[in-house]
Symmetry: C2
Subunit: 363 residues, 2 copies
């Protein structure tokens, strides 16, 4: 029973809490990239209607919510730290805001954005090593350069994983042309965070016409599709130690475990779409239980958290906030209050994240 | 502990079971419509690539699985009854197989197909009143004729609900032009079964290119989108007593209850997509808890069934098989063995269906 009027203190300040809170799906966008996005739209070179709607609302509107988001998104210092203090977050795992580099048609531009963003993010993390960790941004448009950037982020910049903002101009990591990126991540044993993007233009119309393309529904559908495409492509058979982290408790794929397994087997047995549907080494649900971790970004809801722990494995589910889009004290209190043992809560908020992202354990 | 070697007996034959098994998402397609579908494709007048793939596999292939499905789909007599006896199904609630009338561009053709199908189905139900119940097919292409057909099906043919095979040529019931259909269903207090369809051409590409457009994933996404579109359109505020039944445990919308409520409120508070996102009388999850029932077609998986009972209400979840696509004795045994009380099991298999579809209670 938490006192609803008490402020939330960080684990580092309140040892009686028993854990540090590590938030693992937290967004950031360098002001330089905001300007490039705006230029893309102003020059008429953007073909993604959801992207334009996003930029015009969250980065250009002066009304309260977008202004709040935009200021925090571009901060990598005191504003972010103040918010973390106010909501009891000991550490953020910070990633380049969607769609990051992946909106650019030109691979060289996208690659240079990734390099710039990683340099700035690494500097921010070095300035606050106890509070910030960061993921390596990549430009999938040039898979070999992206693999090289993953190695630079890991070996030279001290970054602790890779951010993939779902599809890249309508293309998915089920395509082996992107597999140098998976190969590099597996070789370094560093996780890829599969973060939402809007459905691509080839899919978005029935969502967009009723404003369901984003966090209401489209994000989850598109990101779930991406993860399922990666699994059915056989990528995890080629890279069996590859680690994926996915937000929003798995974008509803945990709900479908039984049906995906059943139908994949039925298709194979029955010869349905036999030119496309391939046998896999494991069942679809096995990959989801053995290669994937699930964060609670935007899903501070005990029944669904417990369902995912039950069907995926209790050690697979970890905390995320979704800063600065969803900053709710109440959501911290809900998750502090989950019906878990002290050891399970510590794993949920702290040690699973330390293990997956290889964050040095704090004192 | 059921003896795995024992045959499954119907509740009507084995009173010790304690309930009749009513299967509520069972498909049928008159041979006349199969021929019309084939003609549509052969004449080059079909623009839906998933439909063509479906017809060519399930209705034209001579290999084992599609042959099994095709024969049963077109039967409304002894073959169907034998299967029901073998799997312990006392009653099927039978509906016109997806996409039914909804693949036709021409409203008059679609309307005539609905009339024909309803006449044949009603005759089949009259021949086996203790075993078959049927839903009224409609052609949404002509909403006023469809409303009239709902009244004919209810008042004259003894049908017990309406089948809607999701989108109609890329259009959704969020569009008020379809609301005469909702109005008729509400006025008669007869439920609309929202059954899957493939994503429309405006959405299907990233699914189709990897054969995920159907039961593997696309069906669920498209049907969930349709239900969410109906809710956010305000249709349930206009028709507050409208009853919807949805299969596959709600096409993953139950997983998203918290996030949909949170984001809909956040959009409204923050002015996001304010020209499209409308205030509603209730929360999104309220409509899903108060106007919608959920069947277990293709989802014979206890963790997910219990999760849905928990978050939607135990009286909202009822049994379905998905005949003739998924005919598995094991799935009956799993659901007979759910950790429910005898009264809850009876509601799950029998009395909830009797209530929702107004099936006269059997002796």
């Amino acid at each position: 029973m938490t006192d609803q009027n008490a402020s939330i203190r960080r684990g580092a300040e309140d040892p009686s809490l028993g854990y540090l809170r590590i938030a693992t799906e937290e967004s950031w966008c360098p002001p330089e990239l905001v300007r490039m996005w705006e230029e893309l739209i102003d020059a008429g070179r953007n073909a993604d209607p959801a992207f334009e709607s996003y930029v015009n609302f969250f980065l250009r509107s002066s009304s309260q919510w977008p202004k709040y988001v935009s200021e925090r998104l571009q901060d990598l210092g005191s504003l972010r730290l103040e918010d973390m203090d106010a909501t009891g977050i000991d550490r953020q795992v910070i990633a380049l805001n969607s769609p990051g580099t992946q909106i650019f048609a030109d691979a060289a531009t996208a690659t240079s954005v990734a390099t710039m963003a990683n340099d700035v993010l690494a500097e921010g993390c070095r300035a606050h090593p106890d509070r910030f960790s960061g993921l390596t941004a990549v430009a999938p448009q040039d898979p070999h350069a992206a693999a090289e950037e993953i190695r630079r982020g890991h070996d030279q910049l001290g970054l602790c994983g890779v951010i993939l903002n779902s599809h890249t101009n309508g293309e998915y990591f089920s395509d082996p042309k992107f597999w140098p990126i998976l190969e590099a991540a597996e070789a370094l044993d560093t996780p890829i965070y599969l973060h939402p993007n809007w459905p691509p233009p080839s899919m978005i119309q029935p969502f967009l016409e009723v404003a369901l393309e984003g966090a209401m529904y489209g994000y989850g559908v598109e990101t779930g599709l991406h993860l399922l495409r990666i699994i059915t492509s056989g990528a995890f058979d080629r890279f069996p130690r590859l680690k994926i982290v996915v937000g929003h408790l798995g974008e509803a794929l945990p709900f479908w475990l039984y049906r995906m397994d059943y139908m994949h087997s039925a298709y194979l047995r029955g010869g349905r779409n036999s030119s496309v549907v391939k046998p896999l080494n494991r069942q679809i649900s096995d990959y989801l239980k053995e290669n994937v971790w699930y964060t609670t970004s935007g899903m501070a809801w005990e029944p669904c958290i417990q369902f995912c722990r039950q069907v995926l494995g209790s050690e697979r589910v970890l905390y995320a906030m979704d800063y600065p889009y969803e900053v709710e004290e109440e959501e911290i209190r809900i998750q502090d209050g989950l019906a878990l043992s002290p050891a399970e809560l510590k794993a949920f908020f702290q040690t699973t994240a330390e293990k997956v992202f290889k964050i040095p354990a704090a004192g």
